[in-house]
Every structure is written in C-alpha cells, then in structure tokens.
C-alpha cells in the first residue's frame, strides 16, 4: 500500500506497541504531528524538549517499555541531547524522533537545521538520518530493535520533512535481523561452571548488583541466588530495588556514599560477584585497592564493560537474568542449615559493621533532610516510585528510602543530570497511573526543569515533589566544605522563588514545612491529594551526606558522621 512517510511512521509505531509519545511540535515535524492526531497514540505536550526525553526515560524505567519522543529540527533536536546522554549513560531504551529540514536543504545552514546525527553520535546506541521514505519503515523498526535489545539504549531517528511527506509502498516487516549486531544473551557454559564453583567454595562472598539486573528483569533470580547461598548483597545506585532493601542480607549501596557495611564487606570479601554493573569510579574509589582480597566475577551483556575499570577473574558475557537463572539451576538448593553454618562467621562480621556504623543523622531543631526521606518512605510504605534530581537529594533518597522492588527508583546515575527528576516523575506517573510517584529534589535542581509543572497539571498527573530546601547547591557545597576550606564559591542560592506560590501559579498545590513536627502533617496532606504537589521542606542548610569516600581514595576509607 502506498502511504506517506508520516503514515508509515505511525503504522510502525503502532506495530511496536507505542501508546504514548512525549514531544513538542515544530515546522519540520508538522506533517508527522498531523498524522499523529489521527491515531490512538497519546501525545504528552511537554514545555521543553529536555523534559520530553526525561519523561520518556522515566516512562521507560517505570514500565520496562521503550520510551518515545518526537521533536522538531534544530533547537528542538539539540534540546534533547542532555536527555539522550542521560539515557545512554544508564542504558535506557528510547527512540527519539527528530524532524530535519528537507533533504535538498541539508548542509545549507537552512532555518532550524542542525546535524543532530553528528551531534548525538557519541551519546546514542545508534542513530540514523533517513534519506528516503522507502527506508523509513525498516529504519524505525531497527531503531526499536536496537533500543530494547542487548544492552538497551537511546536510538535517534532523524526524519527530513520531505521524507515524511513523500509517498512510498509500505509492507509490514517481519522481525528485524541485523548482520553486525547480535548481542550474546546466553552465557558460555564453561565460564558459568567456573562461576558456580566459585560461588560454592567462597567463604566471604558478596554480590554486587547493578542496573543490568533491573533492566533484564533478573531481580527474582538474584534474590534466589543470594538467599539460597546466604550471600550478602550490595548494589550500585542504579541497582537499588534489584534486591529487597528489607532483606537482612542487604548491605545497602556501595561506593562514594555507600554504607559502611557495604564498603567494608567489599574490601574484605574473597569473591565479588558483579552482576549488571560497570564498576564506575563512584563505586570503586581507588581501583587498585578495590575488592583487593577478592576474585571478581563480572556478568554483563556488554563485553566492553568487562575489564574496562577493574581486573576480572571470571568474565561472563550474557543477559543478567539468563545468567543468574542458569547459575541458580547449577548451584541452588533450598536454604539449609549447612549453608547457614558455613556463612555464619562472615555474616556475623558484617552484622558488626552494620551495627557499629549504621546510616545515621541527628534530628534536632532544624528539619534534617534524611528525616524527610525516611518519613516519605514510611508514609508510602516503601511502595512509591521515587525519582530524584542529582546531588545530596539523590544520595539521601538512595540511602534512606528502602527499595524493595525493581523499577521503583528512577535516577540519573551515570550522567548525573540535574533537572531529571520532575520530568522523569511525569513519565513514570503516566506509565503507572495507580502508583504514588515522588520526586525527591533539591532547591537547586528542581529549578532546572520546573517548567514541566505545567505538563503535570495539564495532564492531571499527581506527582509529589519533595524539595529538600537547604539554600545551597548542597553536594558541591559539601565538597567545598570538606576539600576547599569552606570557600562556598557560587553554591549559595541567594535567591529562589517561593515554591509554594510557584506551585500555586502553575495550578498545583504548594505546602511548606519549617519545623520537624510539620514534616509528617505536610507529607500526609501532600501525599493524600490527587493533584501535583510541591512540598517545600526548609532543611538544615549545611547537612552533608555521609559516609563519604573522598574522590580517588579506597572505599574502605570513609569519612563518617
């Protein structure tokens, strides 16, 4: 059947199961938008294209589906770059569709022309400029296939206006196969046997679980492995929720702001089983000293992650869930007394670390940000989807909210994008309308994409924004306090809007707490209404995140409270 490029695009989007698109129209995509309006696909009009990508990202993380954005050429396209890089760093499946000037104008410095394929080459999994309508269907199909398969990631498809307008024959395409792209899902059996042997013989094992476990849906298999062998589990920031936070085997997060127990256990273990992690510098600290007594096993679907940052004894390339499943099949027994006996000494030692240096803070006259996060956790029963901005708010959310399920902690881990949390919360709320979605924010980062409040109000999305308002760009301030002689260069936020009035101006609800006893009432009210709410918590100005490992130090050398 002959169809226009815009019609073909809609057809393929529907075939790929797309029901929601986050976007912002413009001249180069006006024909695509015209066709979009004729479909059942829901379009969410954001207020800035960066918001569209983060929202699609939050949608993808909460739903496990591919997030889709549609923006125009030139500035519309460049505004997506931070969002794309964010998704790329965290391996989130996105398809970003950008309009482009007509093919005969490409290279002419035409109005709203930019080489977005060139710009995004290093921050996408792959990208395409579609030169002919005949190629469009296959290209978009490939984009979805690439985005969701292997190590997921963002894929950008740049569609010139005349490609959207021209007509071409359309035949539905079967499953996509690509000659040079074949991710390894099934692990090598020989390697797997080595891992199994190490798991069975290790005396002081630790599992280090990451975002790959969540992306692959491997949380249940991981939990089974850990429980049957009684192996304590730590996670990366991206891995939170991959193992139940309430389980006694859970050590807390690892790394720069990891728990004492997690960092010490990693330093003392004889087997570190890294699953779906990439041994980022925020986790390893000084790499030469990282897990220095351990044999390291590294399971990951992306071979480039393995041996990139740390030496590995047994590499295992494969899907995390498939690998854990097979590992369980090879080794797992029901939890039994013999295993418990064997592990007692190690778990006792860890128990001591947990007991002597738990996460802690002193609640006094000013509201402590940690207390706010703890109360958010208590009042949502640990069942909310939590997004964060970046900085202290993010670390306190990671430390003090107990994540028991995968896909419930949505944060910009790799790129560390301030302004991520609010649009991501919008996307997550659209993916999970029945869930409570909370953005734990700071007064600095919330202002980076505050315009998306209008989006939340327009679509009636009851996202809850918890602003930990300390009047500082707190994480940088903390570094300045500790390492720069308290010279607070440019980190004092000398002027900020009244967040309550700001919320009201957007048509949302605004609440404020200044004293500790106001925290629970404000949260109770804010969480109970079916509207977007900004809750402004005026917290202790110079509270710092602890434990902290100074950059470049071994993770066992922590600054404690």
């Amino acid at each position: 059947m002959e169809m226009t490029g815009s019609q073909i695009l809609m057809q393929v989007l529907l075939e790929e199961g797309v029901d929601t698109i986050f976007g912002f129209p413009g001249g180069a995509v006006i024909d695509i938008y015209d066709e979009l309006a004729k479909t059942e696909i829901r379009h969410i009009l954001v207020r800035h294209e960066q918001g569209a990508v983060h929202a699609a990202d939050g949608y993808a993380r909460a739903s496990g589906k591919v997030g889709v954005c549609l923006v125009t050429s030139g500035p519309g396209a460049t505004n997506t770059v931070t969002g794309i890089a964010t998704a790329h760093a965290d391996s989130i499946p996105l398809v970003v569709i950008t309009g482009q000037v007509p093919t005969h104008l490409i290279g002419n410095d035409a109005f709203q022309e930019v080489d977005i394929v060139g710009i995004t080459r290093p921050c996408t999994k792959h990208n395409y400029l579609v030169k002919s309508t005949a190629d469009l269907a296959r290209t978009v199909k490939e984009a979805f296939y690439l985005a969701r398969s292997g190590r997921p990631g963002p894929v950008l498809v740049d569609i010139p206006k005349n490609v959207a307008n021209s007509r071409s024959l359309y035949h539905p395409l079967g499953p996509i196969r690509m000659r040079a792209y074949n991710p390894t899902y099934q692990p090598n059996v020989k390697q797997l046997r080595q891992v199994a042997r190490l798991v069975e013989t290790a005396e002081r094992p630790v599992i280090f679980s990451g975002g790959g476990v969540i992306l692959s849906g491997g949380g249940a298999e991981l939990t089974r492995l850990a429980r049957s062998h009684r192996i304590p589990v730590t996670t990366s920031l991206m891995g939170l929720g991959g193992f139940p936070g309430d389980d006694p085997l859970f050590l807390g997060m690892l790394g720069m702001h990891g728990t004492y127990a997690a960092n010490m256990s990693t330093g003392a273990c004889d087997l570190l089983l890294g699953v779906g992690v990439r041994f980022d510098d925020r986790v390893t600290g000084k790499t030469e000293a990282f897990a220095s007594q351990a044999q390291i096993v590294h399971i990951d679907i992306d071979p480039t992650s393995i041996r990139k940052n740390v030496p590995v004894s047994v590499p295992l390339v494969g899907d995390c869930r498939a690998s854990l499943q097979q590992l369980n099949a090879m080794t797992t027994e029901e939890p039994n007394a013999a295993v418990a006996d064997k592990r007692r000494k190690w778990l006792d030692r860890i128990g001591e670390w947990k007991e002597t240096q738990p996460l802690s803070y002193q609640q006094d006259r000013a509201i402590k940000p940690q207390y706010v996060v703890e109360q958010v956790c208590a009042l949502t029963k640990g069942e909310a989807i939590v997004t964060t901005e970046v900085g202290q708010n993010q670390m306190w959310a990671a430390q003090y909210y107990r994540f028991n399920h995968p896909n419930h902690f949505i944060t910009s881990g790799g790129l560390g994008t301030m302004g991520f949390g609010l649009p991501a919360a919008i996307g997550a709320q659209i993916a999970c309308p029945e869930k409570t979605v909370v953005d734990i924010a700071g007064d600095g980062s919330i202002q980076m994409n505050i315009q998306e409040m209008a989006t939340a109000v327009q679509y009636g999305l009851p996202v809850k924004i918890v602003v930990l308002n300390n009047g500082y760009l707190g994480m940088v301030r903390q570094w300045q306090e500790l390492f720069y002689g308290r010279r607070y260069s440019a980190t004092r936020i000398e002027y900020a809007p009244d967040f309550v009035k700001l919320a009201e101006a957007y048509g949302a609800m605004g609440l404020r707490a200044r004293r500790p006893e106001e925290v629970i009432p404000v949260l109770t009210e804010g969480l109970s209404v079916k509207r977007p709410v900004i809750m402004d918590f005026v917290v202790e100005a110079e509270e710092s995140v602890y434990p902290m490992v100074p950059a470049g130090a071994p993770i066992t050398e922590m600054l404690l409270v």
Binding site: V117, G118, P122, T304, R307
Partner: protein, 163 residues
C-alpha cells in the same frame, strides 16, 4: 605501566555515510590514538574495509577492539599483527634535487624498487611500497636529496589463508 605497542586492526564495516566518522569518533571520544586509518569499499559494494594503526598497551587495545565491535556498523574485526598477515603500505614522495644529482637519485630509486610516478628536471615523484619498515628505509635513503612533499597510506593488509 604496560608497554605501548603499535597495533594494526582491520575491520569490515557497512559502506554507508558516517561510518568512518563513527569509528574515528570512537577513538577521539574515548581518548584512543589513531596513527593511521585507511578505508575503501571491498569487492562487495555494501561493505568497506577500514585498517587502523594505533599505539596502545594491551588492556587498551582490548578495550578499543571491544568498543569497535560494539558499533552497529562494524561487521567483523581482526588484529593484523604478526607473520600470519600480509601488510603493505604505499608512499608517494616528491623529491627535489639539483639537476646534477638526477642520475644519482634515479639510481637510488631503482635500488629501492621505487616507481617513478612523475618526473621533471629537478624533481621526481617516487612511489614506494612494501612492509612499513621497507617504506621507512626507502624514505630514509631519499631524504638527503630533499623530500618536498610526502604522503603515506598507512598499512593495509589481509590475513593469510591457511596453507
């Protein structure tokens, strides 16, 4: 500190616009070094072959190769080192000399198995090819006469078929 060594790699890639840029961009973006790069289509017009020489230690080479294999347009990648490979490089050197040196220069070119691609009263464009070391030796011998311009392809190569 591991020793940095010259490492030659050859890859088959989709013959599409932007592919060389993806490969080269990966090197620059990850802080790897390209010493030479050579790309052209193969007998299959959909496929090009790119040969790259880089200077790096073994773990970095491993990482470069993995990253290259991860590119969607890279079909196949092999190292091109050691005796199981045939490697050749071609150089064109424009030699400028005094007319009375002409006979001597021609003799040297003949000795080097060089070809004369262009000739004038006081200049020659000489073509030399061979293993990289041979090309280097030839250029060293020509240098005293005055190299005005020089271009080298960098090595290309193929892996030998089993005997």
């Amino acid at each position: 500190m591991q020793i940095e060594e010259k490492h030659v790699m050859t890859m088959l890639v989709d013959n599409e616009p932007g592919v060389v840029s993806r490969v080269a961009g990966l090197f620059s973006g990850k802080g790897f070094n390209i010493e030479s790069i050579c790309s052209s289509p193969t007998h299959d017009p959909r496929v090009s072959r790119i040969t790259i020489v880089t200077q790096a230690n073994a773990p970095v080479v491993e990482q470069i190769e993995k990253q290259l294999r991860k590119l969607v347009n890279v079909i196949k990648l092999r190292g091109l080192n050691g005796p199981r490979c045939v490697r050749r490089e071609l150089a064109l050197a424009c030699i400028q000399f005094k007319p009375e040196q002409r006979a001597e220069v021609l003799k040297v070119v003949e000795l080097l198995n060089g070809k004369i691609a262009d000739a004038g009263l006081s200049h020659l464009i000489v073509e030399v090819s061979g293993e990289q070391e041979e090309v280097q030796t030839a250029l060293n011998l020509l240098e005293p006469y005055g190299i005005k311009k020089l271009t080298r392809t960098g090595p290309i190569g193929l892996i030998r078929e089993p005997k």
